[in-house]
Subunit: 268 residues, 2 copies
């Protein structure tokens, strides 16, 4: 039996989804979060859709066992491949990371030209383009893979001159094509928001999928009358399928002191 | 029955080992190479030693079926975890990628202070330090992980200003500690040799593990009377466990036209 005081379940192939956890904690400070990062099997991008679906079902089953009241799929690859299946199989609400950002981009654009950046896998999958076109078929979309952004974030170089040079090179085609709205289509990218904003200037609206997904989560909880009160304050849990120390060190780049311990759970 | 005209088998978790294949082709132009890249299961670094041993045995069995006359383990992680087991199980000679570089470094150093750079996994494993100390216990060793070098190479930015900035930051501690010899302890790094040499200057000797491993392979083949003549010229094969097109595109950064097709073989 799911209660309103139960935690919000969030999962990702690794640590990137912590930006979504961070946004949920900021926007919904009374909600407890139970986060699962499948660090033993990261990255999902190069894996087949069947494999990603199997992994996603395993993680969902584990989080349901942990009594989560809703499931946030904070991984672009898992959202692209497994969202319909998870919605079919689970009785709790399931929220993906692609639709909320796509909706916000369609609302934000003035010239009808939206840019999308993400990992090579996400861009190749065309998942954002499909979501955007489903909302607004006349949209012009320019998508670009930025494979070095994730390693730069994981190295902690979010404000390094090298990161700035890389961002300038990746974003130049989006600038010259005059997109006025850019979807940060990877859960790591919110950590580079300042660098990306500096490069693109104030005329380009950045859509932070993590913020939008947290907003969507708030709406879903309200609709389902599942908003927590937790008078004692929230209790967060972080679970990784591999090396908890590495998860903790990287996790603190995303969450600061909000993460002070990591449990381990092996799946598969 | 192994013949001298049989191919040299080389494997890696992905494409990095192609620098070893390249060095073998350059130094031994009559030898045929059969290369296996386990791109479906890359990277090996974060995986447990048992898993890496299991994968290495699977690949070795496959290459032995392909009639290779010797096996080059062109992967630092697989060398660190699986070399003794492979030598025990196989009847053909098995060559690792760590010892040849360590030996060359011990020969090259004048001040007895050797640097090692590699992925986080390789540096954490201490495999180069053990190999170096086994050869020369009095050596001073400074090891440093350079996690961004592999993504920079895979993005093809081997001569980009961002790469130069990253190299300067990674190599600064090695410079200030005055290492006079640096082992490039990752199969991707030979592609950054020019940038690294520019940063460190002419007083630091770079040890290219790929070149040293190819040299070792030549010696082993000569010792075992297995040197090929192949009057018709060599015939190379490249086999990946995932997406042959991506392997081909990345592979051409390492090998140019020497790679013009990729077969697929799923393992495990």
């Amino acid at each position: 039996m799911v209660t309103a005081e139960a935690p919000v379940g969030i999962f990702d192939s690794g640590i990137g989804g912590l930006t979504v956890a961070h946004a949920v904690m900021q926007q919904l400070p009374r909600e407890s979060v139970t986060y699962f990062g499948d660090t033993a099997r990261v990255p999902y991008g190069p894996k087949s859709p069947e494999t990603v679906r199997r992994y996603s079902l395993e993680i969902a089953a584990f989080l349901v066992e942990q009594q989560v009241k809703t499931l946030v799929v904070a991984c672009n690859t898992a959202t692209a491949h497994a969202l319909p299946l998870l919605r079919e199989r689970l009785t709790i609400p399931v929220i993906g990371v692609i639709e909320p950002g796509a909706r916000a981009a369609v609302r934000a654009t003035r010239n009808g030209h939206v840019g999308v950046i993400g990992t090579a896998g996400t861009i190749k999958s065309g998942a954002y383009e499909r979501a955007l076109r489903a909302l607004e078929p006349s949209l012009r979309i320019t998508a670009r893979a930025c494979p070095l952004f994730v390693p730069m974030v994981e190295e902690g170089w979010v404000d390094h001159e090298a990161t700035r040079l890389i961002a300038r090179e990746y974003l130049a085609p989006l600038q010259s094509e005059e997109v006025d709205t850019l979807v940060l289509g990877c859960t790591h990218y919110p950590l580079l928001k300042h660098v990306i904003a500096d490069v693109l200037g104030p005329d380009v609206t950045l859509i932070d999928s993590a913020e939008e997904t947290a907003r969507e989560t708030a709406l879903v909880l309200r609709d389902q009358r599942l908003t927590a009160h937790n008078p004692a304050g929230p209790a967060h849990r972080f679970i990784a399928s591999d090396d908890p120390l590495m998860f903790l060190q990287l996790g603190q780049r995303f969450l600061g002191d909000a993460i002070d311990g990591v449990e381990v759970k092996t799946l598969g």
